[in-house]
């Protein structure tokens, strides 16, 4: 699983440009699903057919990550940029980014900015080490992500895009572990696009799949760093997180009861997650068509939307184990 995580976190996949991640996932899931197609939004929609008598279960993990898009290149070759998803200027300062072709850039601060204040995105620029506009290969409209670097240290895995490559890892690992097993349910594993800019891929794929039950596989924040604000009872290394509520949705009560029962039946370490900001693909799936019972299974991650995200390998394993346990039994809501 570490190798898979390293491979997925090394693929380029900003919102709207998930092609490289999708290509990697297609290779990884070859032979694990019965059907596969790519829809208008670029979602990779797969079906693992059940043995019958089960439900249509949609599991969604998003392929995209946040980043920047070049808006303007000045005479000296410095590039101004727009955010793609929740890109925080205070976190950008001093970071390195990379473009789809591998070009690396540093983020610098306009000298006119007030250094006693948090910078605004308009104070920042990307520097690819060019001396003039003519030396820059990039064009306005080219996207960039935080420079990709994976590291494993004990149980901790580091990467700038754990949100949500780790959800993709959970979904792929689940499909691997289900190989050859009899499962009644039709499992629609959907690797979605454009989550970070408004859950857009999940919206259209949930309409097409028309599931009976939907679960988003994503990361969540933690409350275990010094004076973490807002306070939150989710801890890294303390198990998978079952979504009670976030800023965009309330986890389906019956589905959550099933998830808790599944965790306890298989002695999977879990925690209940109440997140005060942000949401996941579950929000879009929940309101698809006439409504879908939906929740999220999250891997706790420190420093989400920064280049320094950390997850705990054991929480990733617990997420897979929870889903495996859930899918083994009937899903009656």
């Amino acid at each position: 699983m570490q190798e898979l995580t390293q491979r997925l976190t090394g693929a380029f996949g900003i919102s709207g440009y998930e092609d490289e991640v999708r290509a990697v996932i297609r290779e990884e899931i070859a032979g694990l699903v019965d059907e596969l197609h790519i829809d208008a939004m670029g979602n990779l929609v797969t079906l693992r057919r059940g043995t019958g008598g089960g439900r249509r279960v949609m599991l969604a993990a998003h392929m995209d990550e946040i980043g920047a898009m070049v808006t303007y290149i000045d005479e000296q070759g410095f590039m101004r940029f727009a955010p793609v998803g929740g890109l925080y200027p205070s976190i950008c300062l001093g970071q390195q980014v990379q473009f789809a072709d591998g070009t690396v850039g540093s983020i610098g601060l306009d000298g006119r900015a007030d250094r006693n204040q948090a910078p605004k995105l308009t104070d920042l620029f990307i520097d690819v080490g060019a001396g003039a506009r003519g030396e820059v290969k990039q064009k306005p409209g080219d996207p960039a992500v935080f420079r990709q670097r994976f590291a494993a240290q004990g149980n901790a895995w580091f990467a700038p895009n754990m949100d949500d490559r780790i959800g993709c890892v959970v979904l792929i690992q689940l499909l691997r572990e289900l190989k050859g097993k009899d499962i009644a349910h039709d499992i629609y594993g959907v690797f979605t696009t454009q989550e970070e800019v408004g859950l857009r891929g999940a919206m259209t794929s949930a309409y097409a799949v028309n599931p009976d039950v939907a679960i988003a596989l994503d990361v969540t924040l933690t409350g275990d760093t010094p004076h973490a604000t807002p306070a939150m009872e989710v801890y890294m290394g303390h198990g998978t997180a079952i979504k009670v509520q976030d800023a965009g949705m309330i986890g389906h009560v019956g589905l959550n009861r099933l998830l808790v029962a599944a965790a306890e039946a298989s002695q999977v370490l879990y925690q209940m997650e109440v997140l005060t900001g942000g949401s996941t693909d579950a929000r879009a799936m929940q309101v698809a068509r006439e409504g879908v019972p939906a929740s999220a299974v999250s891997v706790p991650s420190r420093y989400v939307h920064s280049p320094s995200q950390i997850v705990d390998r054991r929480d990733v394993e617990a997420s897979v184990a929870l889903l495996r346990s859930l899918l083994r039994g009937p899903i009656q809501l």
Partner: protein, 356 residues
């Protein structure tokens, strides 16, 4: 295409604030008579038109969309002294409002957005941007009785600006008017409906774009297009600015149709982007790319309809949108008609799929 300027003139002068688009709809209906096979008006007020293609079946169904509504105002209170308080509808630029002429309601009652005379203001008062809640429309009434007889709370108002031609120079023919966002898109769409295409066309004149893409959302659901091309009056800021300001214009007047790559509401489908790039190159039509990250339009709703719709937006740069008067270049308008028309002749299923 010379008469498209006359169409734009009529559309620009017409009254159609979000939620009250019926006069624009009537005008559009009149202009497209005989150009479409059938049309319908839905529950929200969208004018949806259908035009069968002449290519072999099965034919693609391509939506062309432009919104009929414009930003404006709604009367919220009639004061004792006869002045009318109002709210913005769809984000009019409040920096541009004081002293402007407006018309109110279906009767087009004239009024002025009043301001205290500068002689009576301190320097601080003069330098401050007056919030819309502090402004009032003056219709010259002596009190609330007289004003209330002419205007009711809930009446709409919009700018009184009349269309005019600024330059006939064929190299840079400019016109001025209100509501170019998005009457220019409606004009392009009318121009496109005058021709025949191999694909089936759903021509959508949508409502309530300025208040949240509402009309396009339900119209896309109803018509289930295979692909969509939105026609918009785009933000344009190519006018003089501080010399060391490190931003480029979002678009430039006269540089051709502006293609969106990303805005706050959508990413252009890569196949549709390829279609427009190839079409522009083949036809020798100049295009520009709208700087990423600003604004959101009907495409944001259309591309998420049902299981998703490959979509693109072609815009006509308009200076000073959401203000009392905009300026655009007629060459950008006619080039957008040419570009979208040629794309409709070129499009096939190959452009609607992704490579991996």
């Amino acid at each position: 295409m010379a008469d498209l300027r006359a169409v734009l003139e009529k559309l620009s002068n017409e009254f159609g604030v979000s939620g009250r688009e019926r006069a624009v709809r009537a005008l559009v209906k009149n202009e497209i008579e005989g150009l479409v096979d059938r049309l319908t008006v839905d529950a929200l007020g969208n004018l949806i038109t259908y035009k069968a293609g002449d290519g072999p079946e099965p034919r693609l169904r391509v939506m062309l969309s432009a919104h009929m509504d414009e930003v404006g105002f709604m009367i919220t209170k009639v004061e004792k002294n006869g002045l009318l308080r109002f709210a913005g509808v769809g984000g009019p630029d409040q920096r541009t409002l004081l002293g402007k002429r407006v018309v109110i309601g279906d009767e087009r009652l004239p009024g002025i957005i009043g301001a205290p005379p500068p002689h009576l203001l301190s320097r601080d008062q003069l330098n401050r941007i007056v919030p819309i809640e502090e402004m009032a429309i003056d219709i010259g009434a002596t009190g609330d009785k007289e004003a209330g007889g002419k205007v009711k709370v809930g009446d709409y108002a919009t700018f009184a600006t009349r269309f005019s031609v600024l330059s006939d120079d064929p190299a840079f023919p400019t016109v001025r008017g209100k509501a170019f966002d998005d009457r220019v898109g409606c004009t392009v769409l009318i121009g496109l409906l005058a021709e025949h295409y191999p694909v089936d066309i759903v021509g959508l004149f949508s409502v309530q774009e300025e208040v949240g893409l509402r009309g396009a959302r339900v119209a896309a659901y109803r018509t289930e297009p295979d692909a969509a091309i939105a026609l918009e009056g785009n933000t344009c800021d190519d006018t003089p600015r501080l010399p060391d300001e490190e931003t480029s214009p979002v678009t430039r007047v006269g540089d051709g149709p502006a293609i969106t790559i990303m805005d706050r509401s959508f990413f252009t489908h890569p196949g549709m982007l390829r279609l427009f790039r190839e079409t522009a190159a083949a036809e020798g039509i100049p295009i520009q790319y709208r700087a990423p990250g600003f604004g959101g339009t009907d495409t944001g709703a259309i591309h998420l309809s049902r299981a998703g719709v490959p979509s693109i937006q072609a815009g006509i740069p308009c200076r000073y949108i959401h203000g009392p008067a905009s300026i655009l270049n007629m060459n950008d308008l006619t080039n957008t008609v040419r570009l979208a028309g040629a794309a409709l002749r070129r499009i096939n299923r190959g452009y609607l799929t992704r490579e991996n």
